[in-house]
C-alpha cells in the first residue's frame, strides 16, 4: 500500500468519525443546560508505573493533576468531591470507587442529579489498566460506571490500547427521551484506538491527548463562544488536535475513540470558562499556534490554534504565565501576569522574538516526575560466622534487627540501591586458655553494628518478587568483658566486608513482606590474618512509596 493511499484512508476514517459524532450530537439537540445542574464527582487516577516489563511513563501523574485542576477551576467540581489516586494500586482505586459510590448515593438521595467523571492516565494492556504491580480490568471499570447511580458517567482514559474500552461494549444509541434535562447514560472517551499506543511529549510535558483535553476545557474548544465547553466540543477538539499532532510522530497517529450509551436530549457541559473570570484573552486579530505555560504549577496550561477573526479566551487562574507562539523561523515568547478576575490580553507585539534554541518552555516542561521509588523496611533475623571457634569466642552468634532504605529504580530500571543499619548484640562467654593450662571463662557482652550498601536487581511480578545483588558492609564490633576484666576497656573492630544478598518478597499493595539471606566475607587481621565468612537470615516488612 502506497503512502498516499494510507494517508487518504486515514483522512477518510477521520472524516467518517467526525461525521458520526456530528450526527450523534445533532440527534441530541443541544439544550442550554446550565452548568451546575448536575453535581459532578470525579475519580482521577494517575500512575507512571506499569509494572514489570512496562517502560515507566513520565507524565501520567502530572496529567492527572492537570485534569483535576481544570475541573476544579472550571467544572464546578468541589475538592471534597474528588478522589485522586496517584501512583496507587488497584485496591486503592477500588476503595476510592466505593467511597465515591456512597457519596453519589447520598447526593442522589437528596434529589440531586449527578455527573460522574472518571479519568485515568497510565499504562493499559490486554484489557487491563496497569497500576504498578497490580491490574484493574477495564471491564470492571465499565461495570462500575454502568452500575453507578450517577445520571451521567463520563470516563476519560488516556492509555495505550485504551480504545479497548469503547470496543468491548457501547456504541449503541438509546432512543431519545422527551425531557431536555434528563440525559442519562455513559460516555467513554479514550486517547487511542484498541491497537494504538498513547504518546507523551517532552515538549508539552504530558500526553498529547490530555494536553489537548485540558487546553480545550480551558476554552480553546469553545467553538460556539458561549463560554461553555461541552462534551461534544471537547471530544471534537481533542480528537482533531491529537490526530494532527501525532500524525508525524514516531509512535504513529493516535486516534481517540468515543463510546456511549446515552439517553436524553441534553448536551453535557463540562467546563464554563467564565467561572474563573481570569485568564488570557487572545483578540481576533491574532492567529497561529500558542502554548501557555503556568510558571506556578510548572505545567503547560493550554495550547490553542487560533484563526484570525475569532476571539479566544483561555481560562486560567491568577498567576504568572509564559506564552509561546511558534512561527516558521523562530518563536515569540513572553511572560504575562494574570490577575484575579481580570482578562489579560495577549499581544504579539509584547512577545519577544526568540530562536528555537532559546525556547525556555522546552526546558521548563522537561522537569521530570520522580521516576524512582523510595522504600523503608524493618527486619529481624539472626547472624552467625561459619567458623566454629570464631563463632564461639570472637564474633558471637546473635539475633539481629535492622532498618533499610531502598532507592528503587534510582540507578536504572529494576535496580535498587539500598542502605541499611543492622544491630546485633547479646551476652556470651569467651573461653581463654592461659599459659599455665588453666581454661578461664570470661563473661562477655557484645554489640555489632553494620552499615550496609547494596545494589540489587529486582524482578517483580504482580504479587511477588525476587531480588539479589552485591552488598558492601562496614562492620563495627565491640565487646566488653565481665569479671575479672570488668574494669578493662571494651575491644573494638571495624572492617569493610563485601557480600551478597538474596531475597523473596510478597507484595501487599504498597507493603511488602520479605525473607532475605545474606553472606559476607570478612578479612580479620588483628590476631592473625584470617578469611572469615558469615551469614544471616532475615524477615521483615517494607513500605514502598
Amino acid at each position: 500500500m502506497s503512502a498516499s493511499s494510507t494517508k487518504r484512508r486515514s483522512l477518510w476514517t477521520a472524516f467518517v468519525l467526525v461525521l458520526f459524532c456530528h450526527q450523534f450530537f445533532a440527534a441530541h439537540a443541544l439544550a442550554n443546560w446550565p452548568a451546575g445542574d448536575m453535581k459532578p464527582f470525579a475519580l482521577i487516577v494517575g500512575n507512571n508505573d506499569g509494572g514489570p516489563g512496562m517502560q515507566r511513563l513520565m507524565y501520567a501523574k502530572r496529567d492527572a493533576r492537570k485534569f483535576e485542576d481544570v475541573f476544579v477551576q472550571l467544572g464546578h467540581l468541589k475538592k471534597d468531591d474528588v478522589w485522586t489516586v496517584l501512583e496507587g494500586d488497584a485496591d486503592q482505586v477500588r476503595q476510592a470507587m466505593s467511597k465515591m459510590d456512597l457519596a453519589i448515593g447520598r447526593a442522589k438521595d437528596s434529589g440531586q442529579r449527578v455527573l460522574l467523571i472518571f479519568y485515568y492516565s497510565g499504562h493499559a494492556v490486554d484489557g487491563t489498566l496497569k497500576l504498578g504491580n497490580t491490574s484493574l480490568y477495564m471491564s470492571d471499570v465499565k461495570l462500575w460506571l454502568k452500575n453507578s447511580s450517577a445520571d451521567v458517567r463520563i470516563a476519560f482514559v488516556d492509555a495505550c490500547q485504551s480504545g479497548e474500552m469503547t470496543r468491548m461494549k457501547g456504541g449503541t444509541l438509546a432512543p431519545s427521551m422527551v425531557s431536555v434535562d434528563d440525559t442519562k447514560g455513559q460516555i467513554i472517551v479514550t486517547s487511542s484506538a484498541a491497537s494504538e499506543g498513547s504518546q507523551e511529549s517532552d515538549e508539552i510535558g504530558g500526553s498529547f491527548f490530555t494536553h489537548f483535553l485540558v487546553s480545550g476545557l480551558r476554552g480553546d474548544a469553545d467553538v460556539s463562544g458561549d463560554g461553555i465547553v461541552s462534551l461534544r466540543e471537547i471530544y471534537e477538539y481533542a480528537y482533531n488536535r491529537t490526530v494532527n499532532r501525532t500524525a508525524n510522530t514516531r509512535g504513529g497517529t493516535q486516534h481517540p475513540t468515543y463510546g456511549y450509551s446515552l439517553a436524553g436530549r441534553g448536551e453535557i457541559p463540562l467546563t464554563t470558562t467564565y467561572m474563573l473570570e481570569s485568564g488570557l484573552l487572545f483578540p481576533s486579530e491574532l492567529s497561529g499556534s500558542y502554548l501557555v505555560y503556568n510558571l506556578g504549577s510548572e505545567r503547560v496550561a493550554a495550547e490553542l490554534n487560533k484563526k484570525k477573526g475569532e476571539e479566544r479566551f483561555i481560562a486560567v487562574p491568577e498567576g504568572d504565565y509564559l506564552v509561546k507562539k511558534r512561527r516558521e523561523h523562530d518563536l515569540l515568547l513572553g511572560r504575562l501576569h494574570v490577575r484575579h478576575r481580570k482578562k489579560t490580553q495577549v499581544m504579539d507585539e509584547e512577545l519577544q522574538p526568540t530562536s528555537f534554541d532559546d525556547d525556555m518552555i522546552k526546558g521548563l516542561v522537561l522537569i521530570h516526575e520522580r521516576t524512582w521509588k523510595i522504600g523503608f523496611s524493618l527486619r529481624m533475623g539472626a547472624e552467625a560466622f561459619f567458623d566454629s571457634p570464631t563463632r564461639d569466642d570472637l564474633f558471637y552468634s546473635s539475633p539481629q534487627v535492622g532498618i533499610e532504605i531502598a532507592f528503587i529504580d534510582l540507578i536504572a530500571r529494576n535496580f535498587s540501591l539500598t542502605m541499611d543499619l543492622m544491630f546485633a548484640g547479646g551476652e556470651d562467654d569467651t573461653q581463654v586458655e592461659l599459659d599455665t593450662g588453666v581454661m578461664q571463662t570470661v563473661p562477655t557482652s557484645f554489640f555489632r553494628l553494620q552499615v550496609g550498601a547494596g545494589v540489587y536487581y529486582r524482578l517483580d511480578w504482580s504479587w511477588f518478587g525476587l531480588y539479589g545483588g552485591p552488598r558492601l558492609v562496614l562492620l563495627m564490633a565491640s565487646r566488653k568483658f565481665g569479671a575479672p576484666m570488668e574494669n578493662y576497656e571494651a575491644q573494638t573492630f571495624g572492617s569493610l566486608s563485601p557480600g551478597l544478598a538474596m531475597g523473596i518478597t510478597l507484595h501487599l499493595g504498597s507493603w511488602d513482606v520479605f525473607m532475605e539471606g545474606r553472606v559476607n566475607y570478612l578479612y580479620y587481621n588483628i590476631d592473625t590474618d584470617a578469611s572469615l565468612g558469615f551469614g544471616g537470615g532475615y524477615f521483615g516488612v517494607a513500605y514502598r512509596h
Binding site: 524512582w372 569466642d393 570472637l394 532507592f407 534510582l410 540507578i411 540501591l417 542502605m419 569467651t430 581463654v432 586458655e433 592461659l434 599459659d435 599455665t436 588453666v438 578461664q440 570470661v442 552499615v451 550498601a453 558492601l472 558492609v473 562496614l474 563495627m476 564490633a477 565491640s478 565487646r479 568483658f481 575479672p484 576484666m485 574494669n487 578493662y488 576497656e489 575491644q491 573494638t492 573492630f493 571495624g494 572492617s495 569493610l496 578479612y523 580479620y524 587481621n525 588483628i526 590476631d527
Partner: protein, 353 residues
C-alpha cells in the same frame, strides 16, 4: 543527583574506616588475663593463724589488746600475740601485693606491648614530688617480673616514658595450677626507694612465697618465708623505732592447718631486773589444726641467760580459749603451770636451730 547519591552511599563507608582496624583480639584478652592472673591474690597470701584473720579481731576490747589477765578458759595469750605479728606482716609487706592486685584489676594498663604492661604513673600519696608506676614483664612463658617504680616528677619533662625510674619493689611470680596462685619472690628495697624519696625508710624485706597446689594441697597452700634486714618503714622512721631484722616462716595448708615460726630479740628481764639488759633470742613455734585448735611454744635463750634456755607453752581449743599454759619464768604467786598438757591437741614443737 542520583549518581551523586549512589557514589556517596557506596564510598562513604570506605572513607571512614580502613579495613581491619581496632583491638578486637583474643590474644590481647589472653595476655591481659595472664598478667592479671599472675599477681597473687591477697586472700591467698594473707597470714591467718588458726584460720583467723587478724583483721577480724582488730584493736577492739575483744580484739588483739583484750588480754588483761590470761587464765584458763580465756582467750589464749600466745595465740593473740601470734596474730599481732601476722597483722603487722600483712599490713606491711603483703599490703603491697594487695595494692598491686587492685591496680591490675581496677585499671586497664596505659601501655600494652607484647609481653609488657605498664600502669600509671600516678603522683605518690606520700610525696607530691614523686611519681609512682607499676609494670609487669612476661620474662618467659609462665614467669613474670613485677616492678613498683619511683621517679621524681621533675624528670618527667626531660625523660622518656621508660627513663629515670627506680625499682623500689620488685619480684618474680610464676603462676601455677590455679588462677592467682603460684611461686615467686618479692623484694621490698627501701634503700633504693630512698634514693628517690628519702622518707621511704631503710633496709630490705624479701618474701619467698609458694601458693601453688601440690600433691598434699590440691586447692593450693600459703607458704611464705619473709626476711627483714635492718628494715624500717616510713612510719617507723617517723616514730624513731628501731630497725627490724627478723625471719618469719608461715605455712597454711589447704585443710587450714598450719604453722608459723618466727624469731625475735627482746629483753626478758626488762621489767624484773633492769641491770640485765642484754637481748635474749625468742623463738616462736606456733601450730594449729584444721579446726583452729592449736599450740604455741616460746623458747628463750641467749642474752643474759647465757647457756640457759627455757620454753613456755600455751595450748588453746578450737574456740581459741586457753586450755594449758606453762611458764618457767613465772614467780609466785603466779603458777608456773595451769591445766594439763594432756588437753593440748598438738605435741610440743621441735625447734630446729
Amino acid at each position: 543527583m542520583r549518581w551523586f547519591v549512589t557514589l556517596f552511599i557506596l564510598v562513604f563507608p570506605a572513607i571512614i574506616c580502613v579495613p581491619g582496624c581496632g583491638d578486637y583480639s583474643n590474644e590481647q584478652l589472653e595476655e591481659d588475663l595472664e598478667f592479671l592472673s599472675a599477681v597473687p591474690a591477697k586472700e591467698v597470701m594473707e597470714l591467718r593463724v588458726a584460720d583467723t584473720n587478724p583483721r577480724v579481731l582488730g584493736d577492739s576490747e575483744q580484739g588483739l589488746n583484750s588480754i588483761q589477765e590470761p587464765l584458763l578458759g580465756q582467750l589464749a595469750e600466745f595465740y593473740v600475740s601470734s596474730l599481732k605479728v601476722t597483722a603487722g606482716i600483712n599490713q606491711g609487706v603483703l599490703g603491697f601485693l594487695d595494692s598491686v592486685d587492685k591496680i591490675v584489676h581496677f585499671f586497664p594498663p596505659v601501655l600494652r606491648e607484647k609481653d609488657r604492661r605498664v600502669w600509671g604513673p600516678w603522683p605518690s600519696d606520700d610525696n607530691p614530688d614523686v611519681d609512682v608506676r607499676f609494670s609487669m614483664l612476661k620474662q618467659a612463658p609462665g614467669q613474670f617480673g613485677i616492678f613498683f617504680q619511683l621517679r621524681l616528677v621533675s624528670r618527667a619533662e626531660t625523660m622518656g616514658f621508660d627513663e629515670g625510674w627506680t625499682d623500689c619493689i620488685h619480684g618474680q611470680v610464676s603462676p601455677q595450677g590455679l588462677v592467682k596462685r603460684g611461686t615467686g619472690t618479692l623484694v621490698v628495697d627501701l634503700q633504693s626507694c630512698a634514693e628517690v624519696d628519702e622518707n621511704s625508710g631503710q633496709g630490705t624485706a624479701t618474701v619467698l612465697f609458694d601458693t601453688a597446689p601440690d600433691a598434699e594441697n590440691r586447692d593450693g597452700k600459703t607458704e611464705l618465708s619473709i626476711d627483714f634486714v635492718d628494715f624500717l618503714g616510713r612510719d617507723g622512721l617517723k616514730n624513731g623505732d628501731l630497725p627490724l631484722t627478723a625471719n618469719y616462716y608461715y605455712l597454711e595448708r589447704s585443710d587450714k592447718s598450719g604453722k608459723f615460726d618466727f624469731r625475735t630479740w627482746s629483753d626478758v628481764h626488762a621489767e624484773t631486773d633492769p641491770q640485765l639488759d642484754a637481748l635474749e633470742q625468742w623463738d616462736w613455734a606456733v601450730r594449729w589444726t584444721d579446726d583452729g585448735c592449736g599450740r604455741a611454744d616460746l623458747r628463750i635463750s641467749g642474752g643474759d641467760l647465757g647457756n640457759f634456755e627455757a620454753t613456755a607453752s600455751e595450748c588453746w581449743n578450737s574456740d581459741h580459749k586457753r586450755v594449758y599454759f606453762s611458764n618457767p619464768f613465772a614467780s609466785a604467786p603466779d603458777p608456773t603451770e595451769e591445766g594439763s598438757e594432756a588437753d593440748c591437741c598438738l605435741p610440743a614443737a621441735v625447734f630446729n636451730d
